[in-house]
């Protein structure tokens, strides 16, 4: 007996009781739909986190000055400016370091025409764009020469441009920052929210020397609040850290046994934790949804058991006209598998549909992946086989004379 004939018999048997078949399928529809939807939501969360992480820059360290002790009193990190621009230069020359950017941050009032806007200003060096993996939208970055000469040039983030210029082209315009004129030489590409929800595009970048000498002034000229350092690869993170520690201790002439006057933090580790959290969330959502898949499978087993009992006589007739127990087994198994696969296909479509609705209506990022659909359908088919097996075997083990006598 050929498989396609058996499938035909199975299909007709299911068609004979459409309402029941549909209701049985509903269990699988809901189960697979839930799995696909939950995985899409989980993947969406992961995508958001990963995008936020990527926007921060990769293989990133932050080097803070401070943790100093003065007369027994300990001050927090960043309180004593010990990091200099020369430190940044020296770190930049380490073989494990790809790029370094000293940061002198502050806020300032921007005025252009009738518009004004207060924003975060970062005084830094050309290496900043590389460290943050942040491309320019238009224009150019300032040069090392402009850093040396404390040029009054500025690169604006998208939020600042929107608030100062509306739709106009900012390149080449002169804005007033705390009353001094600066020429806009470039614009930053949009970056979106950071992990902690801040708008990363609400920022302006100027040469670090300009920030220190002209815009903010500094009690300790030539020092910066912190450095951003990018290692060449994830594998080199540990070695880069050790080299930086050794280098800074040597440059700051810290005797052995004394604590560091700086702090190095691995930003990537933090990001990895966030990513792992998102992944765990995604797995948990999937696991909860899988329970409904299991319930759907039990529903199939339940109905198939009823069906076998109800169709005992039919089984007897089929056996009398030559069906082997294997034929009967396969037919009932196929009925269960058809139910579960059809149900899972409908469920997958439903899950994708609802995921789309959610992303449209709730403005939530959902990512439907092909593998989640394939996985759900394959698991559903496996569940159909697993839960269809027992009823099918019961049918196949019936003895023909008893089955024929069954009323």
């Amino acid at each position: 007996m050929k498989l396609d004939d058996l499938a035909g018999e199975a299909w007709r048997a299911l068609g004979a009781n459409r309402l029941r078949s549909a209701l049985t399928m509903l269990g699988m529809v809901i189960g697979v739909g839930a799995v696909v939807l939950m995985l899409a939501i989980g993947a969406g969360a992961q995508y958001m986190v990963n995008r936020a992480i990527a926007s921060m820059g990769t293989n990133l360290f932050i080097v803070l000055s401070g943790a100093s002790t003065s007369g027994g009193l300990r001050f927090g990190a960043g309180t004593t400016p010990t990091l200099t621009l020369d430190d940044a230069e020296a770190i930049g020359e380490l073989p494990t370091v790809a790029a370094v950017a000293p940061i002198a941050p502050g806020t300032a009032q921007f005025v252009y025409g009738a518009s004004n806007w207060s924003t975060l200003v970062r005084g830094t060096t050309p290496g900043y764009l590389k460290v943050r993996d942040w491309p320019l939208a238009e224009g150019r970055m300032f040069t090392r020469a402009e850093v040396r000469s404390s040029a009054r040039v500025v690169i604006l983030g998208q939020t600042v441009i929107e608030n100062l210029f509306g739709g106009a082209d900012p390149l080449g315009r002169v804005v007033r920052i705390n009353s001094s004129p600066y020429t806009v030489i470039g614009t930053l590409a949009p970056k979106g929210q950071s992990l902690d929800g801040r708008d990363q595009d609400d920022v302006a970048i100027i040469p670090v020397t300009t920030a220190q000498r002209q815009l903010f002034g500094s009690r300790f000229p030539g020092t910066v609040r912190y450095l951003l350092v990018q290692a060449r690869s994830p594998k080199l993170m540990q070695r880069a850290r050790r080299q930086m520690e050794a280098l800074l201790r040597q440059r700051h002439r810290i005797p052995a046994g004394q604590p560091d006057d700086f702090t190095i933090r691995n930003l990537t580790a933090l990001a990895q934790t966030a990513s792992r959290t998102a992944r765990v969330l995604s797995i948990m959502l999937g696991a909860i949804a899988s329970i409904s898949l299991l319930v759907g499978g039990i529903g199939i087993m339940n109905i198939m058991l009823v069906s076998v009992t109800e169709r005992t006589r039919e089984i007897g007739i089929r056996m009398a006209v030559g069906a082997r127990s294997r034929d009967v087994l396969l037919q009932f198994l196929l009925e269960a598998v058809i139910l579960s696969i059809l149900g899972s296909l409908v469920g997958a479509a439903l899950g994708v549909g609802i995921a789309w609705l959610v992303s449209e209506l709730v403005a939530m990022t959902v990512v439907v992946t092909l593998w989640s659909i394939v996985l759900a359908v394959v698991v559903a088919a496996a569940i159909g086989i697993f839960f269809g097996w027992y009823p099918a075997r019961r049918a196949a083990r019936l003895r023909p004379i008893e089955a024929l006598r069954y009323e």
């Binding site: 050929k2 007739i317 056996m319 009398a320 006209v321 030559g322 082997r324």
Partner: protein, 234 residues
Amino acid sequence: MTAPLIRIEDLHKDYVTGAGRVPALDGIDLEIGAGEFVAIMGPSGSGKSTFMNILGCLDSPTRGRYLFAGEDVAGLDADRLAAVRSGAIGFVFQGFNLLARMDALDNVALPLVYAGVARASRRRRAAELLERVGLGRHAHHRPAQLSGGQQQRVAIARALVNAPRLVLADEPTGNLDTHTSVEIMRIFAELNREQGLTLVLVTHEADIAGYARRLVRFRDGRIAGDEVAGGGAP
């Protein structure tokens, strides 16, 4: 003289019940030749239904030999018995036993599905047989849309569809009125006479048994009589 299609020697069938072993068949010896038309009669509990089940390879004997077309089928497992049924035996039941959700054509074609015949030739052959039992125009009716006599004719077509060497009919007229019974028995007699079909029929009605050419009487699990019958002449 016909060659023996069926040879049964010292056949026993015991049922195990709460009261111990109950013999349903207690030493049956019987030969049936190809082309014979045999009626089996006996009171209920005489073992004739048990005998039919074993004859039809639906059940296995406890003891004894059953040679079907020269092959010993007494000790075959369930799947081998199914293969014998599929290839060589057709059944007609008292309650017709058609599948309600299939039309007449599909019911008739069902044995061919399990014999591995391709769909197109299945349908052709089934249509042919429906034609032969006079139901060519009812091929797409479901059993519920047919009268009892028509349903039994569909069942006969189904029994014949795989060109069996033996057709077993268990009280085939039990659910039918007299007029329809005559109609059905004429079909059987004709099949036997014109095509040499080997037929074994269980009945408790003497006039139905009268269509057969040989009458075997069962009593208490044994053969109580074996005689030449009317030969379907009325």
